[in-house]
Symmetry: C3
């Protein structure tokens, strides 16, 4: 009887083995991690993800002089595909449907991570991507303390993504990044201006403290943009709210061959507390024509942001690229908790007036309350106020606002 049972068991085991027998390096399985579904081949050489995000904003304005309106809109509505190919290659392709045609192409690059120079890993990225310049402009806006960048970072920071080649050399506690890029998508060669500018940026960061939940990072960035021909430039900024088209500071258009820029970055995290600060400046080549003909104006700005997780979380930090991720709530809503709650405060200044260019100076303050019921679900409520607009076309026009965001990604 035991023998017969054994034979029966053996046959059942054989059938099980057969059913599992097709497993190979080419089999692809899927896992859920923090709300995202990721596909991966058995040998890990190939991965893929198709995700997306919706950021829905509403804003209400306490206008001063200029009308600002109120309403709702999608701040971002994206699909994205990303993955690994042959272990060492990877790609990202993001499209934002609030843009049109190639304006909507965001991160879109091919990356190769199997190079070493002097025993240091070097990562090459070719395509549409941010320049290695400044700090806030290189963070994912999905997890920043505030819904919008500080005015200084917005106007004098990395700016829009550009088509180019970027190399990141990764040290133990430092990163050195350099990129050579052409024009942002949608503003490339046309019949009237066939030569794209050349934009070179470099950044070095150093992290004397780089532990889990305890980070100190300092960085310096430099950038040079130059055209064969003369390009039209215009610097202006919304007051850290995107719904209203009103921009209190605005240099109006001027013509120049380009500019050089520099910035200093400081980031500190200690558990639930975070601090980030930048100083940025941008100096133009000689202006051609107009009342500022021959002048080389320099624009400057900076900000300090501080945040604190009331519920004690500290955000994960990627030391390779100095990027913070989504907080993981200690007690998420789905586990009967309250989610993660973050309080944040900000001060910023941006001066677009120099020599004969009078764009105005704007000083702002803002506070924010961010709620992450789950790792990648966010609701934000902000109050922002323009402390002062000094000079420029909207001298003294100092509105305030309340704005809110609902954010989902997958």
């Amino acid at each position: 009887f035991a023998q017969q049972s054994d034979a029966d068991l053996a046959e059942r085991v054989r059938l099980l083995e057969e059913r599992l027998g097709s497993a190979s390096a080419n089999d692809v399985t899927a896992q859920q991690r923090g709300g995202r579904i990721q596909f991966s081949s058995a040998d890990g050489n190939f991965t893929a993800r198709v995700g997306g995000r919706l950021l829905l904003d509403s804003a209400w304005y306490d206008e001063d002089v200029s009308a600002m309106g109120e309403g709702s809109k999608f701040r971002q509505a994206r699909l994205e595909a990303s993955g690994t190919l042959y272990r060492h290659w990877s790609y990202v392709f993001q499209y934002d449907f609030t843009g049109s045609a190639e304006d909507g192409i965001k991160d879109a690059y091919l990356r190769y991570n199997n190079l070493k120079v002097a025993d240091l890993p070097v990562i090459l990225s070719l395509g549409n991507q941010f320049l290695p310049f400044g700090y806030l402009g290189q963070q994912s806006p999905k997890y920043t303390m505030f819904m919008e960048q500080s005015t200084a970072s917005l106007v004098l920071g990395a700016g829009e993504r550009r088509l180019g080649l970027r190399a990141d050399v990764l040290g133990d506690r430092w990163r050195w990044s350099t990129a050579v890029a052409r024009a942002p998508l949608g503003s490339r060669a046309t019949d009237s201006n066939l030569d794209d500018p050349v934009d070179i940026a470099t950044q070095i960061t150093y992290s004397p403290i780089q532990e889990k939940g305890h980070v100190l990072m300092v960085g310096a960035s430099f950038r040079d943009q130059s055209s064969k021909g003369s390009d039209t430039h215009r610097l202006r900024a919304r007051p850290q709210t995107h719904l209203s088209p009103f921009r209190p500071v605005d240099t109006a258009a001027f013509t120049s061959d380009g500019f050089n820029a520099a910035g200093a970055q400081l980031v500190y995290q200690n558990g639930p507390f975070e601090l980030e600060a930048e100083y940025l400046q941008q100096k133009y080549d000689a202006i051609q024509g107009g009342p500022a003909d021959g002048e080389k104006p320099e624009f400057t700005g900076g900000y300090v942001n501080a945040g604190f997780f009331l519920t004690g979380e500290s955000r994960a930090y990627d030391p390779r690229f100095n990027v913070f991720g989504a907080p993981t709530p200690a007690r998420p809503l789905s586990a009967g908790g309250a989610g993660a709650w973050q309080l944040a405060a900000s001060y910023s200044t941006l001066d677009l007036t120099d020599e004969s260019i009078d764009g105005g100076r704007i000083d702002m303050a803002a506070v924010a309350l961010n709620w992450y019921p789950e790792q990648r679900l966010r609701f934000s409520l902000e109050y922002g106020t323009v402390l002062e607009v000094d000079g420029g076309p909207f001298d003294g026009d100092e509105p305030s606002f309340v704005q809110a965001r609902a954010q989902v990604e997958w």
Copy 2:
């Protein structure tokens, strides 16, 4: 010997267990259901789907007075992502590539389904979605009897999706839905009109009969749209065919602060037989300027659609949202059958003439033959005729048409 065999078997079982050992709540598997592939985590808390659809239309016109053309086009060409997050949250994001920029964003919302009020489930949906108003405009056009909405539903029904918050309270045999919304995407705050309108709609439905294949539903809807400023309004309709741009009724533009609207809905299904009917009216606030200055015109319309599955199918019905799904052919083509065949007939009327506004009245009739060789593959052939155009800029212009559609989704 039996001992050795046992040890061998035990080892083989251990190996099998090890290979299956990685199974966890985070493992994601995929299933095919009715032609769609759905991903789901082992605990069911996370699901995801990336789908799409192509609706290809051709039309031929028997013109009367105005030229109408002929040809083919994609009526819809969409990708969509949808899924569940942390069991109680879900998202939908549809984009239609026949639109441009944010005009192409269709359903795009975040939903939360874990609320109860007085022991009744309440579903909250935040984002771009239809107002709870009318019946036909809230159905998926993929499975409606006719390729296009009746003129009355098109002009006086739910209209375009709008950004807003919607709450659905679900009773046993009833649903009460309310939404507060702003402008449709692509028509929000601009420099010239910074204030979006506020649009409030509410609907109550009651289903005295709600069995499999046997449904009776009655509903009533109310809506109020108002602007701080004055908005331009224009009501006009294509004659239930979308390829030709000709619109036989058209109020031309007029200015008003808004309108209120009401509608009554009736739906009956008995096996393969379906009947749906609506009456809709929309009354404007005082018109500002022009020959109709100070008037409050009221526009009305309605339709009756009846369908019958010659092959005996009855469509699945979702009693929560009063929505019909795709028919499941009793004998699909892939099983050697003929698929599902549906015959439908329609009568509609829409009157856009009142007081000094003379948009005209249009009466229409149409018949349709729909073939579903498989559950989510559809081919349609329709004949439509304008019975009468009375008044308006195209008084007496009464064309007919034949149109066809091929539809695939995945």
Copy 3:
């Protein structure tokens, strides 16, 4: 003791069987093949893939007379979904985000492959697709020898995809394809021109040699395009580089009811060596108005391309549709090899001058070096030169260029 062990083992086997027990025809699994991840139901009746591609071009010009600029851009940036439904139906939907609205819709069709006529398989495809005309225009540009089509193929070949119905009859060594189509997307019926043209094309191919790595194919194509009204036509061509908008040959706009066209194709592959050549001509119906009134000009062109894989690969060939795929490197980079290296040379001519239409004749030569480190990763470097521009608005304007491409797909 053995009994107890047996009972224990039996229970463990039962648990394993239970965990595997859910396997059914509806279970969907995923596999990686050549860098792509494909989903498939257990019975193979349903498959799905969501992929994409990025083609990033840079170009530098040695201008002659006209300015050409320089810079970088995405030549293609696409997402695509494709799959099988109910075994015999399939769909493809590609969208290129460098286009806007429906201009960006590329392949988008529903296909049925379960028909036979006289024992021969007939494949029906309904939607947006290439006409069966010419050779190069029906190949995937991802794997062609050169980054751009020859001028003759570009202007006189299949042209843009069009909405229509195509039937492919597949013989043992031959294919006969016919399509009836309307206008390309984005140029369909408008208020001013409501009638789309009707475009009919037919092609027959014969392959006396059709072995693995050894192919000889000859083909002939015919096409007729006609409008009810009169359409505006304009033939012009970039010189096999897409970044600069400069087009050395250009007929300017003329009005005609349509044209008929013909072409002959020859393709030969012998291991790593490939040769492809075409001759194409297009003859217009009587021109209406202007200096060429009443004339019926005929434009002609052709090209010869030859390629050789220095590393010995021969590309896979799909004899059903006469299409070549990506080369599979004999020694890919990921296996420590050098990837596949292909050298190619090209000569082309296109004559857009006939009777009173003087668009000019352009002769070109080009050489290319293509590197495929892995099966679906490509880097290309090309040198192209305009040998002669004879007549037309840019008579004698003969630039040269170097261009490069990085290409990733998934």
